[in-house]
Structure formats: structure tokens, C-alpha cells
Subunit: 683 residues, 2 copies
């Protein structure tokens, strides 16, 4: 079989004249069917071998995907990381075999037929849903529905922002999404659609698998929405096509690429197309077809091949299509080689934190220690942003309509607007979920480190997307303010009680809760230095005194926990606290000292980093004496550090509406309470 | 001042001929302005006195609210709980003073001017955002945006379902919502809009405060959505009106009441209307106006009253409007008195669990213990539903398109459909968030106990609404299946790891995780018996053996934790587990016994209920010997029960795609591992 590794553009267009720069040329249907059927049969075989999986979508969307990958998508399987490649996001992630088949067929480096054979097996590179990092060509982890839509909007934003900085020569690509009924039913998709429409992301093209079937049956059981009208109401270009007619599909994608708005192409498809008896029903969505049905399908397609075998001419054609953009990529390489170092660094994301940024962080810390502000940590965070934004061109951010309250927008930070993407701030609107999803997409695209901000209590709205940040190990920073009952009068709906616990329980995310202005700059440094871990920085609405007035360049918060005040070696009792409660512990330590009791005060800005310290350091910090812990939140995460006789002072109920001071008194979160508890423990 | 407690309908319509049954009559503008300005001034005064709050919305929507409350809303302030009252939900909950003003003006029982004076103070009945249970007339806790929209859809569904059962004579009312830009930007609202449109909830009327301003500035910074077109695409009747023109507002509401679809009335308003210099800007959204601005406003309105004082004639008029529906309510009372006992019990919700239902639960438990099925607990749960559905007419449920996989639909359970609401099952579509929000609304409406189902991993999508279930203390049941890495091949996106911890950290919600078929029936009983606490029942996808084969009517799971197997008094070690891991612990205990080690096995289906047991019971169950705990999840919540030397076997990372068996082996969740750990502890 000819693999054509050396097939150049001239030879390619001679062989496939309908491709490349002539997207409007007639497409030979017979060829098309073979190409699409290759996806179908690999999917059937892999799901059958795995004994589970979702054949319905890959079979139904095989025609659409074939047109997209063979004719439009700009990608080079030999250089999967090419920064200016088109992005393809499979938002309907359960159809993972569609993607895996395409990666194999188009000849992605290191993607073998054995990968398809080990579909859904532990340790394989082809998990049940696409997971970022397992295979080249998997641009995002998808599966939780709607998340791919949001990520794709983020990629399309990053593309335009990068384009505004580097020009068409280096960045000018499309983002394609395949979304299903489920993606479009999730409210998250509406947030994504509205933001994309508002920003007129014309290089975003959504291919909707409009098969009118979901797991439980026909979608008419639960929806009557006119999706075309809905997208149009949000500023999208829309078109409906027969999802099995390659000509219609081609024409629609061609037009979509030329509009000045994001595009929805509703592809009317039959779920499970190609499964002779099961196509069109909901059972083909998520179960293997069985050997008989597959045999019937093979026969109907006119292929007498063994499982996992694609006829050589078809595979050759697919491999050729995989090399369609090779010349473009080489040309791009030359342009890249001629670009300036600053441009190149911006494009291929620099290490998370450059020297200049680190210096700026240390400088602002030293300045804050000197200035000793008594302000909310969200204001200190704003000062940190002011300091680093000018020296971190990769840093960009936004807020869910609360920038004025959360301090999320740095001095002079320009917002992006429709047609104008040279800014670095996104007005997400009151849409927390898409904010987090877009941050994921921006980070996946590369070139930027995104932060995003809302009240900590509203992290509940975007938790599903934050979980994906953690699962993918993305360098994104969530700036979550109003982090306790210190919120005050807005009451329990706005007061996070269990949120710290809920995120400390989540794998692979660092939850920071700084105690003062100095720690705030330190946790920002930690967040930006970490690789492969998102951060959640929790900040106070109420003013906090500066506790760390004598500081060095050393990042104490990076230790996760450390002795911040009071006695050390010869302590009688240890007081543990985080964030706004550290000042209370420090005050209690002073009261204890007057009683002749030596208290060590431990600030614990990040449990996760503390757990990564050596046992000796942990022992030295925590000590062996009785402990009192205080945090304006639930107890759960603290039990790890507390013995049976130790005391925790916090909340085990929702908060209330009232002044922050009244609330702290009412719930017993006071220096007096810490003092009394400690005294009881030592006497 | 005449309070008119005895004002009968004839006298009322003589005094206000334009009201009641003549909604199309001309409304005297002068009177209207006075009525609306009463809301405005009470709002200004209360926010000023509190020193914080949100005047923008109440001032802007005062005209709309005046028309609604004076002319259309069916309510009786003397009988706030009248089951057939119209429901009014303030989805834009930050505008709470709009609601509080109206409750005072219309003369709600026990709502005094002192309540308004104590706005936002700790212990007052007028918290920053409306909280269910604080004041009569507050139909739902709102504040987290979009939640009121979802709750209102739930109320409108409950109304139609109850109407289908009891007829127009007893149930026939509207649900009105005031929603802001923020509500409509949240993706949750789209899910609510789609479901309401699909079900053609014609008695749902949304009044959109279309002021084009959000906290950070004009909404054009973040949205270009045509809301009228968007709602229309989802099957709504839509209309735009001048939100300060009482005639336009009245005509639109009048028409909306006659359509056969849910209605959106976009009320073009000026935020902060009536604040002479601040109206129209974003700063009036959430800050006190200041004494000077208020003085100017008073002057412009022609009122020289002291703060918190409404001119007597205006208050009299408002109080009269408050008694507008009194006659209707009395007529309804007579119809109710003549209704049958079954109807009456259905309407005024019976105790959560009747004797018949309790008997059915015990029967199915005894049958399951005898049958000893080895099936997923989600299948056992389905059997429980089959048993209780026929004897619990108040029980209704639904799933987010996963009923076939989660066992959420009982045998023969009929789905509700547009125009046909005699069923008890809701096809929510792939919309977890609105499912939870609708469950809240159904429960708030009264008459039903709703359950809803999805995969536990996707609880992240609806966490914000579940939090409100807990905060309001609603009797709703979340049936969350696929509760661990036992999900298998679908991989980490579908495998809950931190979700048990995250909900155990949430106040006022019971998290159940039954170990087998018998415990499944017991936790259902506990969930339905609890009052004022929502439940989250976590169920396995993988088959589990029946461990409890010898049972009585006593509900062991109601204890939260209990000795399920192995040694008791003379134990050497205690094995703790929940759900699918209890069988592993039991197996390990058997292995230990062969080694001469006496192990007690504790099943812990509900941490919250266990913590409510007396200290002696807790001590007896947990014992004093070394412990090994096992749960296919993160460690955090277990630390409360474990000492420093005890062992926890679980996960501290995201799962993977593979068979459930392979995953349990890979993560060391095996009887062998428990056996080895226990042996190390005792030797």
C-alpha cells in the first residue's frame, strides 16, 4: 500500500482535483461513501470488540466528518501540534470512535490499528470518551455534554486574540465542533452560543448532529426548540443540510467559512446510519451492534474485509487526505522561522512564568509588606494583577459580570470586542459556566494563561468545567472572591460554606486562600508557576490586616502551610487557620501569650501544596501539641490535620444575612473563642 | 386609615372599577404613579437604612409590579398559603425590596414596617435576598441567578399536574416571574425556557426587566442576543412593552394570560427609575442612593413624607388591592370544603410518608432480602419505585434523559406531555440543572414529592440548584447513579471521585449510598420520611450481592451506620465502608477470620444520619480498635472517623477508562488490600 509520505501538493491535487483550493468542485459520491464507510466499520468493529461504546453518532456523522476532514480541515498528522492547525472538537464525546477512526485513517503519528483494537480498555490510548493528552489530535477532553462547545468558543477566542497580536501569516485558522442534541440541550451551550455570537467569532463552525434521537428515545419527548431560530437569535449564521449528502455538506461548510459570524450547520442525520436494522433508533446510541448486524452492514457496504481492515485503496486515499495540508504547514514553518523571537515566544507558549513576571511578583510582595494595607484580599489581588499584567503578555482574563466587585480587571486592561481582539479582558456576562469552559479552550489552544473571576459561591455554576480543568491539568486560574460569610448582608445564597471543602476534595487542583496582601501575591506566584494544575484563589470581601510585614523573596505560601506567628519549638498549642481567619488566630495567640500559653500560629493557604511537603516539614509545622483550627467554613477538610481531642471552629450550617462582623460573632468565629478553646486544651 | 378588612367584592369593584374582572378598563395614571412610587420610596429608604442593597431593579420594575399586584395577581395576604393562589417568583432576587415592599403594602399578615426597617440585618425577616420561610409571600429562595426561572417552571408544572388530578375548581392559577438580564444570561434559564416551551406551560408568565444594564455596565458589552426571538424559537408567546407605561403592561399581561403558550413580556425599563440623577446607570444596581438623592426623589414625586411613611390614601389603596381576591379565596374555601378527602389530601400535601407507602417499602425490603438479587443498586431502586409509586400519589419523578440507564422510571409510570398532565414522569431532556431547579419549584408549589435522576458525576451540572434544595429544606430526592469508578469504560469524565465528599460537606442534605438491595429500600424509606431535608441517593451501576438476607421491619440504614457483619463486642479491627465497597469489606472480614482476626464490618449508608445518633451508639458501632475504611472515592469525609494510625483505601486521583473490575484492581480497592491493611494494623 502506498503511504505517500512524499506526496507533494502538485501530485496531491492532480490525484484529488476536487480537494484543496477547489472546495466547490463536484465530489465523487462513490469515493465519498467508501471514505465514510471506513469510519463506520472501524467504529462498529471497535465497539464490538470492546463490548461497549457508542456507535450511533460516529455512524450518523461519518459523512459530515468525511467531508470536513477530507476537504476542509487544515491539519498535519505528522505535526499534530502545529499551532496554526484548525481545531476540531468532538463535543459529543461519547462518539469518540469517530475521532479515533479519523486519527488512524488520516495517519496520525503513532496512532495504530492496535489503538482502535484496545478501545475502552484500561491503559489504552483510546478511552471511552476523548481524553486530552492520550492521543495526538485529541484537542480536548469531552464527554460531559456541552463542554466541547464551550472549549471551542475558547479556542476561537484565543485564535482571534493571537491573530490580533501576530497577524494572518502566523495565526489564521478555523475551529470546528461536532455537537449533538445533548450538547445543545445543556444550558452551557446557550452561554457559549451567546458569547460566540456576541463576539462574532466567524471562524467557529458548529456541525450539529441533528438526528432527533437521544438515549431515552426521540428528542420530541423533551424538546420543541427550533435550533436554527435559536442560534440566529444569538447572531449566528445558520443552515440546515442533509447530513448524508456530501455536496450539501460541502457547500454549507464552504459558505460558513465565508460568513462574518459563527456558523451552525444543522446536519439532518440518521443515527447509526449504515447499521441495516438498527439505524434510526435510540438503541444504536450506546450499545454494540452485534456480530450479525455488523456482517449485514459489511455486506451492504460491499466490503468483505476482516474486522479492523480498511480496503487498501480507501486507506490510501484517507492517508493522502491526511497529507493535504502538509505544504501549507511547511510554508507556515518558514514564516515562523522568520518571525521575531517575541512573536515566536507568544505563539508557542513560554514557560508559565518568565523571570520578568517573577520579579514583578516579588516586587509587588515587598511593596505590599511595606505598605501594610488593611484591605480585602480581592483588592490586593487586583494590585498583583496590575503589577504582572504589563510583563506577562500571555496573561488574559475576565469575569462573569463582577469585575468591579472582584477586582478581576487590571488597570488599563483592554476588553476584547467584536472585530477587535487586541485586548486581554473578556466580558463573559453573567455566565460563569461558559467562562470556565472558555478558559479551558483558551488554555488548550495555547498561547495564553487565562484567569476568570466570580464569587466563590457561584463556583457551583461552573464546577463541571472546573473539573475538566483539573482533569486536563490546564494552567488556568480561578479568582473566586467573597469567600465566606464575610460576604455579609447578601446572605446565605452568596456565602460559600462548603465550597472550600468541595474543591479541596477534587483531584489535581490547588485551592489557595491567602491570609493577607503578602500571601495574596505569593499564591498568585504559586498559581502561575504550577504546571499541569489549575488554581482556585479564594479571596475575601472584608478588609484584612497585613500580617506578614517582614518578608523575603522566598514564597512561604508555596509551602502550603507555614508558621506565621507565635511560638515555634516550645509551643503549648498550635492554632491553624486559612485566609481571613489567620488574623483571628494571630489575635488569639496574643491573648494566650498574656496567659502564659505559647501558641504557634500556622497559616494554611494551600492544603494541596502542604501535603506535597516532606513529612519532616509537615511535622515541624503542625507540631505535636493540641490544636485549634479555625476557618469560616465546614470542618471536613481539616479532619486530616486534627486529632480526636483537637478543636475545630467553623460552620456546619448555611450562613445568614447580616453584617460580616455580626455573622462572625454569631457563629463564634472570634479570637475569644479560639483563645477559650486553646486554654481548655492546655489546662 | 381605613384598613377595609371587611371590604367585600361589590364595595371593592365600586371603588376600583378598573380592577378585578375588567382588566382592559382604563387605568388612571396618577393613581398608578402613586402606587408605584410607594414601592420606590420604601426601597430607597430600606436600602439607605441598611447601608447596602440593590435599589436599581425595584425602582425600575415598580410600574410593572404595581400593575401585576394591583390588577392581576390572585392572592390573599391574610391566607398566604392558599393553595390556589397565583405564584410570584422574584428570580432577580437581589431586588428583594420590591417583594418586601409589596408584601407590606398589600397587607401581608405579620409583615410590618419594622421588617422593612431591619432589611439585611442579622436575625431580621428581610434578608438581602428572598429566603423561603422568612416571610409569608416569599415563594422561593432566589439570588443565584436563573434559579427563580427554573423554580417557576416547576411551579407551573405542578399546577398543571394538580389541575389534571383535581380540576379547575380547585387548581387553576398562574405563575409569574420577574427575571433580569442576569437570569436570562445564565444557561439555566435556557433549559427552563426550552422545557416550559416544550410543555406549553401557558400559565407561566415571565416579566423580563429589560433595562440593558448589568453590574459591570451596559449589557451590550457581553450580549447581542435577541431575547424575543430566542424565546419564540423555544415556543413562547413574546411581547415587548414600555415597562413604565401601565396601559401597555396591562394589555400585554392580559393577552399573555389568554395565550396557549408560556409568555415572555420584555419590559423596557430604566434601571433605578425615580432616582433623579442615578437612574439609568449601572451604579444604581447595587448601592444605596444617599440621603440627597432620596430627598430629590421625594420632591420629584411630590411626597414630603418621612422615611418609611407612605401617604395614607396610597397605603389604603394598596391594602384594598391586597384584599382584591378575598372573595375568590372564600369561594375556593367552600369548594375545597365540599371536595372529597382524597382530593383534599392530595392538595394539601399529606405527611411525607403515609402508612400505605411505609408498608410497601417494608414489603419490598422483605421480598428483596428473600430474593437476594445480585444486581446494581440502581436496579433495586427501580424495584422500590415500582412498589411505592402505586401507593404514593404525591410521588413524581423524572430523569435527564437517562431513565433507561438509571432506573428512574417505574413500571407503567406515565410521562406528562404538552396538554396532558395526568402522568407523573417528566422527560427533562439532557438538562440536569433545570431538572433540579424544577424539582425545587414542584416541591415549593406543594402537593408532590419529586425525585430526579442522572449520573452522580453530572451532579456538578445541577449543584447550584441542589444547594437551594438544601438551603430551603425541601423534600426532594436526587437519584444519582453510576456512583463510582464502577462506571467502568466511560472513563474519568463519568466517574465521580470527589462528589460524595462534596455533598457530604454541604449543610442540610442527606447523602445515602446503600450497599445492597435491602439497604436501597431502607434509604428510600429514610429519604421519604425525612422532613425539611433533601436526599441524594447514590447508586451503583455494577451488580452487588445482597448482604442483608435476614431482616426485620426495622430500618437499619436510618441509623446512618451499623454493624452489618463480622464480630462485634470482641472485635480486633473495624472495617468501615459504604455502598459497593461494603461487600469488599465483608469478604475481607471472612479472610481475616480465617487468620483468627475478628473484624467488625460497619456499613455507613449515611454519614449525616449517623452523626445524629447518640454518642453511645456511635461508639458502639465504631468501636475502639484500629480501623480500615474503604470507599471508591476521596478520603476527606472519612477522616472524621479515622485516627492517625487508621487506614483509608480509596482514590486520590481521577479514574480511568476500563472495565469496573480492572479499575478496582488497579486502584487497589480489593478484599485483599483491606485484609492486608487490617492485618498490618493488628499485628
Amino acid at each position: 500500500m502506498e503511504t505517500g509520505a512524499d506526496l507533494k501538493e502538485e501530485a496531491f491535487t492532480a490525484r484529488y482535483p476536487f480537494i484543496a483550493d477547489e472546495p466547490d468542485a463536484t465530489f465523487p459520491d462513490a469515493d465519498h461513501n467508501d471514505l465514510a464507510n471506513a469510519i463506520r466499520l472501524l467504529t462498529m468493529d471497535a465497539v464490538e470488540m470492546a463490548g461497549s461504546g457508542h456507535p450511533g453518532m460516529p455512524l450518523g456523522m461519518a459523512d459530515v466528518a468525511t467531508v470536513l476532514f477530507s476537504r476542509f480541515l487544515k491539519f498535519d498528522p505528522q505535526v499534530p501540534g502545529w499551532p496554526d492547525r484548525d481545531r476540531f472538537v468532538l463535543s459529543a464525546g461519547h462518539g469518540s470512535m469517530l475521532l479515533y477512526s479519523l486519527l488512524y485513517l488520516t495517519g496520525y503519528k503513532d496512532v495504530t490499528i492496535d489503538d482502535l483494537k484496545s478501545f475502552r480498555q484500561l491503559g489504552s490510548r483510546t478511552p471511552g470518551h476523548p481524553e486530552y493528552g492520550t492521543l495526538p489530535g485529541v484537542e480536548a477532553t469531552t464527554g460531559p455534554l456541552g463542554q466541547g462547545m464551550a472549549s471551542a468558543v475558547g479556542m476561537a477566542i484565543a485564535e482571534r486574540m493571537m491573530n490580533a497580536r501576530l497577524g494572518d501569516d502566523l495565526v489564521d485558522h478555523f475551529t470546528y465542533v461536532i455537537a449533538g442534541d445533548g450538547c445543545l440541550m445543556e444550558g452551557l451551550s446557550q452561554e457559549a452560543i451567546e458569547l460566540a455570537g456576541h463576539l462574532r467569532l466567524s471562524k467557529l463552525i458548529v456541525l450539529f448532529d441533528d438526528n432527533k434521537v437521544s438515549i431515552d428515545g426521540p428528542t420530541r419527548m423533551s424538546t420543541s426548540t427550533d435550533h436554527l431560530a435559536r442560534f440566529a437569535a444569538c447572531g449566528w449564521w445558520v443552515r440546515a443540510v442533509d447530513g448524508h449528502d456530501p455536496t450539501e455538506i460541502r457547500q454549507a461548510i464552504g459558505e460558513a467559512r465565508r460568513t462574518d459570524r459563527p456558523s451552525l450547520i444543522a446536519c439532518r442525520t440518521q443515527i447509526g446510519r449504515g447499521a441495516p436494522t438498527m439505524a434510526g433508533g435510540n438503541h444504536v446510541h450506546g450499545t454494540p451492534l452485534g456480530a450479525e448486524e455488523i456482517a449485514r452492514a459489511r455486506k451492504a457496504m460491499g466490503w468483505e474485509t476482516a474486522p479492523f481492515t480498511v480496503p487498501a485503496p480507501v486507506l490510501t486515499a484517507w492517508r493522502d487526505f491526511g497529507r493535504r495540508s502538509g505544504t501549507k504547514r511547511e510554508e507556515w514553518d518558514r514564516r515562523y522561522a522568520n518571525a521575531g523571537p517575541a512573536q515566536r515566544r507568544l505563539l508557542r507558549r513560554a514557560p508559565p512564568l518568565g523571570d520578568e513576571a517573577r520579579d514583578a511578583l516579588v516586587s509587588v510582595k515587598l511593596a505590599l509588606a511595606k505598605e501594610r494595607p488593611e484591605v480585602p484580599t480581592l483588592q490586593s489581588s487586583r494590585k498583583v494583577l496590575d503589577a504582572i499584567m504589563p510583563v506577562m503578555p500571555e496573561l488574559m482574563g475576565g469575569a462573569a459580570d463582577l469585575a468591579g466587585l472582584t477586582g478581576a480587571r487590571a488597570l488599563g486592561q483592554k476588553a476584547i470586542k467584536p472585530g477587535k481582539f487586541d485586548g486581554s479582558y473578556v466580558h463573559y456576562g453573567i455566565r460563569e459556566h461558559v467562562m470556565a469552559g472558555v478558559m479551558n479552550g483558551i488554555s488548550l489552544h495555547g498561547g495564553f494563561v487565562p484567569y476568570g473571576s466570580t464569587f466563590l459561591a457561584f463556583s457551583d455554576y461552573c464546577r463541571a468545567a472546573i473539573r475538566l480543568s483539573a482533569m486536563m491539568g490546564l494552567n488556568v486560574v480561578y479568582v473566586m472572591t467573597h469567600d465566606s460569610i464575610g460576604v455579609g448582608e447578601d446572605g446565605p445564597t452568596h456565602q460559600p460554606i462548603e465550597h472550600l471543602a468541595s474543591f479541596r476534595a477534587m483531584p489535581n487542583i490547588n485551592v489557595f486562600r491567602p491570609a493577607d496582601a503578602v500571601e495574596t501575591s505569593e499564591v498568585w506566584q504559586s498559581a502561575l508557576e504550577q504546571e499541569g494544575v489549575p488554581s482556585l484563589i479564594c479571596l475575601s470581601r472584608q478588609a484584612l490586616p497585613t500580617l506578614r510585614t517582614s518578608v523575603s523573596a522566598e514564597n512561604m505560601a508555596a509551602r502550603g502551610a507555614y508558621l506565621i506567628a507565635g511560638a515555634t519549638a516550645d509551643r503549648d498549642v498550635t492554632l491553624l487557620a486559612s485566609g481571613s481567619e489567620v488574623a483571628i488566630a494571630v489575635e488569639a495567640a496574643g491573648m494566650l501569650e498574656e496567659e502564659g500559653v505559647k501558641a504557634a500560629v500556622v497559616s494554611m493557604p494551600c492544603f494541596e501544596l502542604f501535603r506535597q511537603q516532606g513529612p519532616e516539614y509537615r511535622r515541624r509545622v503542625l507540631g505535636t501539641k493540641p490544636k485549634v483550627a479555625i476557618e469560616a467554613a465546614v470542618r471536613d477538610p481539616w479532619d486530616r490535620f486534627l486529632g480526636e481531642d483537637d478543636v475545630f471552629i467553623g460552620l456546619d450550617e448555611f450562613g445568614a444575612s447580616g453584617s460580616a462582623e455580626d455573622l462572625y460573632d454569631c457563629y463564634g468565629l472570634t479570637a475569644e473563642a479560639v483563645f477559650a478553646a486553646a486554654l481548655r486544651l492546655v489546662r
